[in-house]
Every structure is written in C-alpha cells, then in structure tokens.
Symmetry: C2
C-alpha cells in the first residue's frame, strides 16, 4: 500500500534504527562518513547508528547535500519493524494472521468516545477559516490552550495565552527549539532510556546533538527505584560533555517518562530545575502523557504547577494523526523565535477550529472522556500486567502512559544488543511488533517497551504471541513471584 | 486581538522588511552582525536587510542561539504593514474605516463556492483517521494528487503517486528542498522581483541563500517584454555568483510569476531547463497560481507538460489557511529526503481527508469552481485595471494570478526606495495596504503589487483610497492613454 515508508509520530523506533546505541563512528558506512566530514559542524549525533552500514553507503546521493544524505539515511535505515508491519497489518476480518502492533505508543482505546462527542461541525471551507487564515494559530485557540493547561497542570496562577505557541506536533516543537536555542553541534542533556525519535527531532534540521544521562536498573543506596534520575547523574553527564568539548545548552525531561513510565515527584523536579539553573541550561519538559496518568495515587505533578520554564507540552488525546503540539514558555524571546518558524510547522485552520472546540468542552473531557479513558487504560494495563506476572516477567510501570517497560533480560542467552535484536525479530516473525530497549538508548540489553492501549481482542492475541515466543525459548521463567512492578508504589501479583 | 504578530502565507512582505533589498552588511545592526560572525557558515542572506537597525540590535537575546536571534529578527523587523492591518482590519459593519488589504495574495472571491460544495463530511475523529495515522500523507491522497496534476498540468504520461510528496504548504517545501539539496551557505538562483518570503523559506532552517537574477522594466532589443527573464541574464548571475565564491545548486522559477504576473512560454521554459542542465542545477518550479490563469489566451503551460524535474507545485484554491503543498519530482533521492522531513511539516489526517475529497471532485472543479473562479477573477481584474487606466497608471498583467504589477514610478519625487516607502506608508495611512517592489527585491523603486482577488465593495473602496493618495500628490498623470498592459498580449483601455 505504501511506497514510501510511513512514520508514526510516537515510538517510531521499534528496532535498532539510527536512533540506536551503536557508535556510528565505527558503523555508519564510508559514504555517510565522507559526507559528514565535509562540514565539520554538521557531525552525526554520537548516538545514532545501527542499521545496515552497506545500505548507508549506498544512500549517499550526488543529488543531495551532505545533510540531505544524512536525512535520507535516517529514513532508509530506520524502522524495519514499521515497514514490515505496514505491509502486513493485523485486521480482525481481512488479515487475522497479520502483525499486532504493540510498538506504537498511541491510545487506540478511545476513538469511539471522540467520535461520539457532541459537536458543532464547522462549514469546512467557511466558519473555521475566520477573518485571518494566519499560519500561526489565532489568539482564541491560544487562549483555550492557556485555560486548558492552567486547569489540568494546576498552575498556581492562570497561564498566559501570549506564552502559548501552537505547532503541528511535538516533533516540530523539538526541531524549532533546538534551532533557536543551539548552534549547530551544541547539545541537550537527556536521561536515557528516552523516546528515541527526539534524536532526529533536534538533529535533522537543527544539527543539535543529545548527551545521554544513562540510567540503569540497578537499585543503589542513593537510588530508590530502578532507572532513577538523580542530580548526581546529571552533573556527571554534564561534566563529561564539557570535558569532551560539547557545549550543552539545555535539559530535556519527559514526564511521565517514555519508555520507563516513570513519574517525577515535585521534589525531584525542583532538584532538576535547580541543577539546570545552576548551569544556565534551558529546561524542556515533555508532558505529552500528562492526561494519561490512570492511577490517581501515582502523584503526578506538571512542571507548570511549580514554576514557568521553557517547555513543550503536547495536549494529549492520543491522536498522533491530528498533529497538534503546544509550547508554554515565559521566555518571550524563545516564544517569538519558535513562533517565527510556525509557517513551516503550520496547523490547518480546520484543525485549529476542531482543537479549540475540543479543549473548550471541559464538561465532556472531565465527565466523559478522562474517567472512561483512565478506566480503559487501567483495565488494559491490568490485563497485560497480569499476563506478564503469570509469565514471571519483571516490569516497571507507575500507572501512567500507554506502555510497560518490560525486563526480558533472562531470555537473552548473552547480554548483548545482538541477542536483544534477535529476540525482537522473533517477536516480529511471530506477528507481534514490540519496541526494544536499544531504540530508546537503554544501556542494558534485554528491555522492551510494550504498548497496552489497545482493544482487548488485539491485546489478547498480542500477548498470546509474546508468550509463544518466550515459551519457545529454553529458559523457563524461574520464579513468577519475582515480578517487579512499581505500579502506584505497590508490588502487584 | 493578536499578541504575537500573525503571518500570511502568501505575500508576507508588504513593506521593506528583512526580505528587502538593502544590503544587510551595512544595515542589520551590531548585535546581529556579532551573532552571525560566530558561525562563519551561517551568514545572513545578502539580500535581506532593512527594518530598524536599532531594533535589530536589541533583538539579540542571550537566551537564543545566533540563528535563533536571526529567526526572531526576521519576525520582529518584518511586516509593519500586516501588524498595522491586523490591528485595524476593515469590516463592512464593524470597522468600515479599517484598512483594506490589497497586499495579501489570497483569493477571497470563491469562499462561497467552496462552502457550498456538496461533500461528505467525515466523522471527524473517525473516518478520516484510517488505520494508520501516519505523518506522511497516505498513498491514496498521493494518488489523487498525481491524477489531479496529470490532468491539470497536461502531462504527456500519467504522473506517478510515488513521486508525489505532500507537506503543509509551499513554505515547508522550499525549506525542506533547500536543506536536502544544499549545504549551509550554498545558494539558489532566482529571477527578481520574486515573492520575497522565499528568502526566509530557504534560509531560516536551511541557511541557504538566494542569488538574484535582476530583471528590469526596460524593453531592449533582445527582450520582448518588461522584466523578461533570458538565459543570458541567468548566465550572468551565475557567473557573478561563481566569481564571488557562492556555490549555486539550483534555480527557482515561479510560473505564473509572482509579483509580475508573467507567464513563461514552453520555449522559454525549455531554455531555462537547458541552462540548468548545462550547469547541473536543480530546477524548482513553483506553479501555485497554475489554476488561476483566468485568460485562456494567456497560453500557460506547466513544466510537467514538458518533462519531469524537481519542482514544488502547490494545488491552488487560494486557501492559504488550509496548509497544503505538493512536490512532484522524478528524482527519488530528493523525494525520499524531503519526505523524511514530513514529520516536521505534517498534515493533519483531517486535512488529508478533505483534500483527497476535493481533488477527486473533478466534475465540480471543472464545471463549477474553475469557470466561476476565472469569471470572478476576470471581472475583478477588469474593474481594477480600468481604474488604473483611468488614473493613467501603467501596469503589467498577463491574465493570471491575483495581482497586478503597477508602475507608480512617476509618483516618486526621486527614484529611491525611501520615496517608495513613503508612498507605501501614505497608502497605509489612508487605510489601504499594498506591497511595494522592494519587498520583492525589485531593483527599480516605484513598483507596487496590487491584489485584486477580493469582493467588489472592498475593491471599490480600496481603489478609491489608492486614488485619493495618488491625486493628493502634485504630479498629475500625464497621459491616461499610456497604460501599458500585457493582458493576453493586448493593450486594453
């Protein structure tokens, strides 16, 4: 059906594509290396890599600039899983043996609610247009966004519409922020594992790199939970970058975290903001899963409940196809500079109209959408986590987002990314698509992200296929009681 | 109403903003110069400039990168006219003494037709979505675009859907093409006067510059019409760029031309393509006004009727707020590289659905929309051109597009851009917004672009205000019979 590979807006990297951990210096093929070396500033990000080096070399085109070749290379070498998936998508009626997608972080549970929402449809070529079909969303939409964020982020004072910038998605926000905050070759800190596509978002147009703050599953005396971010780790990563001559201009946080599902406490958030202030770093907090915290006891707090900072926040209805992302920042220079790029990340007037209508419908959101959405997310989570427990598989979740971070390390004969990749491919061969840890820059081979925000029949079939693959392995789970879950702070069975 | 300045997608520069002709080297203020000098490759385009240098200096922000400051500076210093306009927009009932906008190249004549088109509205959160809410428009939309372009561009063979890339507007297409075809600091050739916003489109993200092929109104032995582009002029501009060490990678053509309203004959087009082939240049042909040729005898030919080349073509329903631009290229490397950037220039699934529906409705387009649109454009043109003739004002038009290129040189006491600016400001003070030649890099002071694609009562009032300003000047038009029009090759009275 598709001749050019199609991309998902969330979780685009399920397999070790260019956002993966292999060191590109030894791995990206001569053609690309040669292209890159032509412009000293336009270095490849140190964390991209993987894919097929020979394919990389052949992607160099005399028609393209060096950065054009890199952009094409990212595309060509990424997302083997999604290409396979799109050629063989599961359909209950038409293709029941097709691939179940547990890799894309999209909320498939509530499309019916959104479809049934009472609404006034605009006359498509008329009413939505308004007197000024500006590229930048009009002020009334920004007013709606400000009201919406004030309410759901529990800001101490009402947020100001003039601090709101609306673009066509979070990818564009990261791209624009990287460009206006950094010179080519400068960097942002980011705790890893992280949503791997951010590597491309800051790099493809901006030429900006990510410096990873690597987290691991080991629980030390200082750390109270696996993969916990600490100021000490931030300081060490920054020092390392400084030592290597990489200028760091900002810190990216994702809260609730993707893929960990972790949630930062207000105290932790304050510590990270203090660290950033100390080192004069911009802080960008991606709160795209803010409204998908389905465990009330998880204790989620938006950074906007603390104080205003540069931050991209994306209103979250799990509709990646809608293309809607908002930035709230009290730094007017940054707001203006990002808004200046809005003609390249413009939102259709039709979508502006629809979103303003939706955001305004507080009654429906509060009394219909959110309660039902959270109940469905929780039910899906309960089912999948129960299946994992029955298999004796440890996992992490705090009751937020669409995914569980699953520890399949014991299914790898050796703790290598090669073995992780082989396991990932066995899942795909058995018609279930997952995302492996390497795609999120996880340093420990064997972790997978499993998306559960899907209808029961697909979830059930997907988990059955996961189980088949794992049970076909000779290693039998040693102790089902060892399930490690952090859902709402409780160990669940 | 608007706190951040709003931008128009077409004709964004009515006044001498940063896309203007003044040499920035002597004019852009110390702050910006300092920023730019930090990155030798990230030079300001030589043709931008203007605005208030002191304002420029103050736009340098310690929070922004050097390119971020430049991006913000473009925004801050541009579009005085649009800011004034948006604060005081004409409204027949609410603000009858407000500003009439004859500066934005938008077709305000046919919104009623588009509103009344029989259509099936999708269930907004349902049907349009489809199984894969990909960022890149789905294949069926690309099939529709290919069929549409094959028909209206009269291509010798059917165009292929896999060569179609769809992004959220022409601005994004230029930005993406500049990035994937050029290194930072490289350049495209473009005949001037040209739609000034292209300067920003290729520069803001791509760091690519434009090398002007300056045209003038003088009719020489070789040139058969004012502002005619010749291969000789292309060769000279390319030689000059080479001499100055600027690497030129492509040629941008706009056909029908904006702001000249000129149309290239098939023979001329072939000559330009031959020139480009000889020098290994990419050719990008912007055909955004292709369906707005309202004089059949104008003899318009799309470049796709000749042969396939890299070219951004934007389907034109004069709906700048819709955000829809298409690229057709037979160079697969270029198509893939541009498509790789589509997550930053993504189109809402809702707009994809609407556009596919619209493009498919060939019967309505052919028998309702286009005949009526052309009739209305012609009527509006006939009125405005008649008014200009009555005033004895020479102008150029070939019966295409939404505007007339008007020669007001005789109203300038001196042939300077300062006087052009003063005249432009007198129009604005008298509540009518026009675009002056400087915004299009015209080398001759005194030319203005006047948009006529508006409802009769606004046009009438706008022309009345134009007349008031011109008649207030002491110079009385010397000979009403001297009107120079190229409408369909005929001199009209």
């Amino acid at each position: 059906m598709f001749t050019l590979p199609q991309k998902e807006s969330k979780a685009p990297t399920t397999c070790p594509g260019p956002a993966s951990t292999q060191d590109l210096d030894s791995n990206h093929g001569d053609g690309l290396e040669r292209e890159c070396s032509r412009k000293p500033d336009w270095k490849l990000p140190e964390f991209c890599g993987g894919g097929d080096p020979t394919a990389t070399a052949s992607s160099g085109s005399s028609h393209l600039s060096s950065r054009g070749s890199i952009i094409k290379w990212f595309w060509d070498s990424a997302e083997e899983g999604y290409r396979t998936y799109h050629m063989d998508e599961y359909d209950e009626d038409k293709n029941p043996s097709g691939i179940i997608n547990m890799g894309t972080s999209e909320n498939k549970l509530c499309f019916d609610l959104l479809s049934r929402r009472p609404r006034t449809m605009p006359r498509v070529w008329g009413r939505w247009r308004g007197p000024c079909p500006s590229l930048c969303p009009n002020f009334s939409l920004r007013e709606e966004v400000a009201r919406f964020l004030s309410f759901y982020c529990k800001s101490p004072a009402p947020l100001k519409p003039e601090n709101v910038v609306v673009l066509n998605g979070c990818a564009s926000l990261f791209s624009a922020l990287a460009t206006v905050l950094c010179e080519v070759g400068e960097a942002f800190l980011i705790p890893a594992p992280y949503y791997g596509a951010i590597t491309q978002h800051v790099y493809l147009y901006g030429g900006v790199r990510l410096v990873c703050v690597y987290l691991d599953s080991e629980v030390t005396g200082l750390d109270t939970r696996p993969f916990q971010l600490t100021v000490e780790k931030l300081e060490m990563a920054l020092q390392r970058a400084n030592f290597e001559g990489v200028k760091v201009k900002g810190l990216i946080l994702i809260n609730p975290q993707n893929p960990l599902g972790d949630i930062y406490s207000p105290g932790e958030l304050r510590d990270y903001l203090e660290f950033a202030k100390r080192h004069k770093l911009h802080v960008m907090v991606d709160e795209v899963y803010m409204l998908s915290v389905f465990e009330k006891s998880a204790g989620y707090h938006s950074v906007l409940s603390l104080e205003g900072r540069v931050e991209p926040a994306s209103c979250d209805f799990g509709m990646s196809g809608l293309r809607f992302g908002t930035l709230y920042t009290e730094n007017r220079d940054v707001a203006t500079a990002v808004a200046s790029l809005c003609r390249y990340h413009g939102l259709s007037g039709l979508v502006q109209y629809q979103m303003a209508q939706l955001l305004r419908d507080r009654d429906w959101i509060n009394h219909v959408y959110l309660p039902e959405n959270h109940a469905r997310l929780k039910a899906a989570y309960t089912y999948v986590s129960g299946e994992l427990r029955a298999l004796g598989i440890p996992f992490l979740s705090r009751g937020a987002g669409f995914f569980i971070w699953v520890d399949l390390r014991k299914y790898l004969p050796e703790a290598t990314f090669k073995e992780e990749m082989l396991l990932w491919r066995r899942f795909l061969d058995n018609k279930v698509l997952l995302s492996c840890g390497k795609a999120f820059q996880c340093k420990e081979p064997g972790w997978f992200r499993l998306v559960f925000s899907d209808k029961a029949h697909r979830l059930c079939l997907g988990m059955q296929r996961v189980r088949q693959v794992l049970e076909a392995k000779s290693q039998v789970p040693d102790d089902p009681a060892s399930c490690q879950s952090q859902e709402s702070g409780n160990q669940r069975r």
